[in-house]
Structures are given as C-alpha cells and as structure tokens.
Amino acid sequence: MTTDGTTPAGDESEASVAELVDTFENTIWPSIDRVLAGVDVRPERGVLDLIVHVPRADVVRALRMLKQGDELQFNYLRSLTAVDNEADGVDVVYHLYSIPKNINVTVKVTLPADDKVLETATTVWQAANWLERETAEMFGIRFTGHPDPRTLLMPEDMTDVFPLLKSHPFAEIELLQGELLGHERGAGGDE
Amino acid sequence: MSDGIFGVENAWLDAAIRIQLIVGLMTVVVMGLIYLERKILARFQQRLGPTRTGPAGLLQSVADALKLVGKEDLRPRNADPWTFELAPYLVFVPVFLGFVVVPFVAGWEVRVVELGLIYFVSVSSLSIIGWIMAGWGSDNRYAMIGGMRAAAQAISYELPLVLALISVAMVADSYNLEEIVQGQAATPNIVWQPLVVVVFLIAGLAELNRTPFDIPVGESEVVGGPFVEYSGIRWSFFFLAEYAALFIMSLIFAAVFLGGWAWPLGEEWGRGWQLVLVSVKAGTFMFFVFWVRASVPRLRIDQLMSFSWKILLPLMLVQVLINGAVLVYGGSLWILTIAGLVGVGVLAKLVGDAVSQPRPKVVAASAEGEVAS
C-alpha cells in the first residue's frame, strides 16, 4: 500500500503517530514513488540509504523503470546479494547507484523459504550475471532465465550444498593441536 | 694450414684433440656464464645473487648441474618417444658444430675452413629442428605453441643475420674467418659497417631467444615453451645449448666486427694479448645481452615478425646494394661508413615514431568534473 503521506485514521495519539509514519521527506522517496507508480512499493529508512521493498512478481519491471527513467537513471548495479532469515524466507538485496545523479537506493525482495525462485536481473544490468550465479549457489535461489546458470565458486558437480544458509553447519576441527600432546578432546576449553 | 697442435702430425688425431679441448673449455665456460648471468642480473636488481654455495657462490652452477644429473628422468606417457628423446641432442649438437670455425687466437681454431662464415650460419640454423621436435614431441599445448613460435621467429630472423654476415664478408673480401680477422689489423669492420653491427645485435638476440625476443620461452605466456615437459639431464641439455649459443655468437661478433685477435696490434704482441682482446670483446657482447634481459619487456609475435620482414630485411638489402656499388666501382670505404650511419638513423626513426607517442595527457578531473557516461 503506498503511504501517500496522510496518516491513516488510527486511534493513537497524534504525536506517536507522527513519528511512527516517517514521511522520508529528506530522502529520495518522493521521486522513487513517482517513478515506480505502477508497483506496490514499501519504503523503509536505512542507516545510510533508503531501502525499498518490492513484491517478487514485478521486481525486474521495477528495476528496469529505475534504470531507464530519465529522472533517476540508476545505471550502476553496485552489488546483489541475499540474506537468509531462516523462518521468514530469504530476501534478495540489490544496491543501486546512479552515476549522473549521485544517489543510492537499496531494493529488497523477500522470497518465501520453501520456493526460492526469482526472475533474473541480467536483462537489466550485465553486472548481475556473476553476482546472481554466486547468490544462487550460496543460498539455493533459482534465477529463472539466467544466461549461464553454472556454479561460480563451488565445484561444478556440487549443486546441492548451499554454504551461506544458516542451516549449513560449521565444519568441526578434525585434529586438535592438544590431542597430539595427549589431551583428550574436550578436556580444555573447547566449547 | 697450421701444423698439428702439440706437434701431432696425424690430421685426424689433431682434430680429435682440438675438439676435446673445445668440449672441455665449453663446459667450463658455460657453467661460468650461468653463474655470471645470475650474478649480473642480481646486481641489476640490487640483489646479491648466489653467495652461499662455495666461495662467493662460485660452485653454484656445479651444484645445479649435479642436482640435475641426479633428478628422475620423466617422459609424459603419450609423448612421441623418438622426437621427445632426440630433441635435446638436435638442439645441442649444432651449437658445438659451430665451434669448428671460431677463431679464438691466432692458430687455435679447430680447422681453418675456406667458407667459414657460410658454414657457421648454416650449422647454427639446424637447432630450430630441435626446438620444433621438442615442442611437438612433448604433447603439451604450451610446448606446441612455443615450438611454433620458435620456428617462426628463427626463420624470420635468419635472413637479416645472413645478409649482415654477407655484407661484412663483402667488405672483408673473404669468407674465411681467419682472413677476415687478419684483414682487420688496421681498422675493425664496425667502422665500415655500423648499420650491420646494429642489425647483427638485434638478429643475434632473436637467434638466441633472449629478451626482448624470448617469445618461445616467455615465462609469463607459455611457461617455458618447448622445454615445459623436460626435466633433469634432458632439460639441462637445452639450458647448456642456450648458453653455448650465446658464447659462440659473442665470439663470432668479436671476430667479425671488432677485429677478433688482430686489432689493435694483435699480431705484434703475441697470443697472450690476443686472448685478452678476444675475451674482452666477447664479454661486451655477453654483458649487452644480460643488460637487455634485465630491462626490456617482451615483444608480441606479430610485432616481432613485422619488425623483421618490414624493417630489418629491406635495410639489409639496401646495405648489400651499397656495398656492392662502392666496392665494385672503387669508391673509398668511408662512403660505406656514412651510408651505414644514415641507415642507423633511418632505423632509429622507423622504430621511434612507429611506437612512441607524445607523453599521454591524462585529464585530471577536478571535483565537479562532468561525467563522461
């Protein structure tokens, strides 16, 4: 739902409602809201730059609008990654930067934990090619329509292990230094 | 024909003894060269070079040789057996054949051959077959590319080398190396033929596969070229052949251009002084080769070929024409010198403007510089 600045008729006191609904006036939210008119977008204030939540269905459409619009011109994809929030799914994060306008925005898409499928962004920026391959093999996300969906950092035949997921365990230390000197495993402070 | 060495009359026995002397001298000199190169290159790079093995590192190349002898002898499984085995010998032997005509000191060459220069050039171009066999035989893509590059480079730089030696032989009016050296008692040939000296240096570097022409063995591209698959004693054959070729090329350079043991006053002061003369002149060529190796980057294969065919060869043909004209119509030899110096100027200009541009101005954008996107 697009917050058009007017506070919804709630029963909280005027002051608490005011600072609850941040109108983002000093950020670039107004222009983004105008550019992404047709998309259901929810802003959030980040520590450094504005975060924009976009629904999964039309993420590529929104990204293309952000890139091609002459008002914002986000022509530089800084980085593309994912954050695994275990229960409530994985969100894919795009950091965009506009060289002419010198402004930044972070676009986030949340994918449900059971079916992690998302449309590829390589059609918008070529930079997304390797970044998506790496995110796919690390989090198990399938980017539909990616030109060459091989693994990037993992060996070719290991497509079922996703190391950066929270569920993936850390490796145990196979041989402790102390053991060579005769102490049993777990004797010292090895928690 | 000088009489036999040590008073031996039988020609065959005499030749055999001289060849043995050469082989003995060669292994000592090559080991010294390897040690000297490492020391001089280290000095260029503000390093110390080998100092630990033996006094001041003198036994370093002895240690290297012994270690290489003791290494396991590997041959890749699907390498072509005969070409792989024979390649080192085909690279090593022609270099030693070349020593027959090399004039060390007045009477000390193995045989005075009437067409000495032609013999030397034809023998030294045999080792290319060895390189290609090594490249093909060791069934390794790097070796294959290295071998092909070695062939292309050797052929394209053989021609300027031959023409250079021919034009010097025209001035000295003989192919017999001993007569060429004796003819230079008064003035060395470098005075008459400055352009030929420059072209000989460049083509010599290319023949020896030394930087800037070490494309077949360029470490950063083809990781050692045709010698990638060789190890132990076989590889040391290639290594020794390379340094032996450097030694023989520097001796020929000293003999043909700097007057060998004749100039200055070589005849009068006897063999001791001649030996000093030859070693100093050969030493300058070797130092030049080490110096270039430490400071000049590597050419690309197409630049190398176009440089030889489009610049060196035409210059040498013109030089031979001028030599012919001056020598036949009896002009004074100083005209040759002037023509040579003009040729060197033309070569420098061709190389200069073909490559370097004015110092590139990199526009330094100040803070609010507009964005060229």
């Binding site: 850390f170 | 503000q46 390093r47 240690a63 003791g70 396991e72």
Partner: protein, 214 residues
C-alpha cells in the same frame, strides 16, 4: 620424517625385575573426526603416499664409493633447491617478498621456476580449498623425484583461520606428504628462509641408506 608417537623407545628393560609390571603407556590415538566429505569429493581428496626413490647410482658404485657419492649429491641438491612459482593466497606475497632484494633467496641458490618438471620443492603458500586440492595433487605428481614440500603458513598446515569452513582442506598434509611446516599467518620472510635451512639439514640427513635414498 613425521614424529611417530612413542613407538621407538617404549620397550621396557628386562634386566631389573620390575616390582610391578611396568605399565607400557599405550600410545594415545587422537580421535580424528572424519571430515564431512561430499560424495563427489572423496575420490578427489585421496592422499598421495611418499614413494622412496630408486637411487640407481648406488647400484652402480662399489660400496666404498657410495658414501662420498651420497655426500656430493646431497650437497648439490641442498644448495640448488628450485621451488615452483605456486602461490595460493596471502602467504604468496610473503614468499615473493623473500625472493626479492631485501631477503633474496637467490643467495641460497633458490630460484623460482615456472614449470613443475624442473622444480624440486613445492611451497604450498596459502589456503588449500577442496576445489584446488586435485590441482595440488596433480602438480605434486608432475614433479620429478627427489621432491620436497614446504607447507607455508597456518592455512596450509591445518586450515588456519578458515578451519571451520567445510570447503577448506584442514592442512595440505591430508593430500600431499609434507616435509617442513612453517608457522605464521603469513610467516615472516625470515621464517621461510629458516624453513629452507631446515629443509637443507633434512636433505643432508636423508642422504644415507635409510633416508629417502633417491
């Protein structure tokens, strides 16, 4: 030679009748946790056993001549160790620093050579990941005998700071026999020079018959 825990000198002396049977300290066997191997990886990470060489020259030379021949060959091998230019990670930068003018390994006759065929020492400088392990094994096999391995830095010795990640091999001695371990992350150039000196002493010790005998 890896220290074999407590086998050589554990034999009790029979001369004095022991009041109580001497409790032979049974050697402590560390509980080795099997690494979590992906099925496709197991075949790629099988270790290479060091095979002793044949030392042909010893069959040729008569007995009396073998001792000086061993000494001469070992001395020449010791003073011309050619490592392979093979840097993996941050330790490679310290290895390069050791070749350069400030520390200059060339003084010991140590020249880096690009091809494994002409090199004697493999310096594993950096983290060996499970994707890189087959390449390390291949390079080790390509090197002609007598060959040695220096495991430089904590990563190559036992995984270093990256041990707890399952894509990292916890130590290169799991796939290749290692002769000298260099501690440090990254070890200082002096430590690498010290490891070469230790390797040289080991080569001198190995020269007699029961050594590597290559």
């Amino acid at each position: 030679m890896a220290i074999t825990p407590g086998t050589a000198n554990a034999t009790p002396t029979e001369t004095t009748p022991p009041a109580v049977a001497p409790s032979v300290p049974e050697p402590f066997v560390p509980t080795r946790i099997m690494p979590t191997e992906h099925p496709s990886e197991i075949s790629r990470l099988t270790p290479i056993a060091p095979q002793p060489g044949k030392a042909l020259y010893r069959q040729v030379l008569p007995g009396i001549m073998q001792v000086p021949a061993d000494l001469l060959l070992a001395a020449s091998r010791k003073s011309s160790l050619w490592p392979m230019t093979f840097g993996l990670a941050c330790c490679a930068i310290e290895m390069i620093a050791t070749y350069m003018a400030h520390y200059d390994l060339d003084r010991f006759g140590i020249v880096p050579w690009p091809s494994p065929r002409q090199s004697d020492v493999m310096i594993v400088a950096g983290t060996v990941t499970k994707k890189m392990a087959p390449a390390v094994k291949l390079l080790y096999e390509q090197m002609p005998n007598p060959k040695w391995v220096i495991s430089m830095g904590a990563c190559a010795t036992n995984g270093g700071p990256y041990t707890r990640y399952d894509r990292v091999l916890q130590g290169v001695d799991k796939i290749v026999p290692v002769d000298v371990y260099v501690p440090g992350c990254p070890p200082r150039p002096e430590a690498l020079i010290d490891s070469f000196l230790a390797l040289q002493d080991q080569i001198m010790e190995e020269r007699s018959s029961e050594g590597r005998g290559v």
